[in-house]
């Protein structure tokens, strides 16, 4: 059976579910963040697969923008985590119950 769009989409969906499980199960802020990256990557894979199999390059341009925005988001998020850690000495969601510093 030749590999088609469905195969790539199934991989993408499974990766997304893995990332979602990580966000729910893990309690460390950093690992939650990595699981978010996993979910973003799953969405990217779906976009590239659709772009390839519908002969339309727009999907790949969109993935390019997603990667850029993800890079900006990671830098800001990690800066927030570091600032929070300086104030609270905690990087664990159960220790971070309030937003107030």
């Amino acid at each position: 059976m030749t590999v088609g769009l469905e195969h790539y989409l199934v991989v993408s969906v499974m990766l997304f579910a893995l990332g979602l499980t990580g966000v729910i199960v893990r309690r460390s802020v950093l690992v939650i963040y990595m699981s978010l990256e996993l979910m973003l990557n799953a969405a990217n894979l779906a976009l590239v697969a659709f772009s390839r199999f519908t002969n339309n390059l727009d999907g790949q341009v969109f993935v390019f923008f997603v990667i850029t925005v993800a890079a900006a988001e990671v830098s800001v998020g990690l800066a927030l985590i570091v600032a929070l850690y300086r104030k609270r000495q905690a990087a664990h969601v159960e220790d971070l119950r309030t937003l107030k510093l």
Partner: protein
Amino acid sequence: MQDILFYIFAFLTLVFGFLVIANPFSRNPVTSAMFLVLTIVSMAGLFVLLHAFFLAAVQILVYAGAVMVLFLFVIMLLDLRAEERRRFKVLAVIGGVISAGAILLIFLRSLLSTPLGASDTPTLEGGTFELGKLLFTQYVLPFEIVSILLLVAIVGVVLLSKKELK
């Protein structure tokens, strides 16, 4: 040949992705970050199989290079010894697996019951030339806006990293 490569890369992506969120041998975030790098690299392999050569290169350069180095720096800045001693909460694990599994089932069912309308002989090539041409003609405005977004991110990070937050 390509089909075999697809199965290899898909398998590697999913196994490494699983090891990111639940590694049976180590709870250290550094291991998770390393496995995330491997996930991203094998996903770049999938991109190559989809003829998205430019995105595969960007994936490795930006994600595996820049973003993951940032992650590793932050992990090493924080002292995360306490994290390794904590146990998983059984209820959280069960709830997480059930909810994510439910979403997985919904996605898979809707995926398999929908006619996708994909062409059987894809001819699209996602090289630098094709993508660059599109990026600088049709998508030039979003491209410029993204540069402003990056500038905002830089300013925000510098502000957040100052010693005293006011």
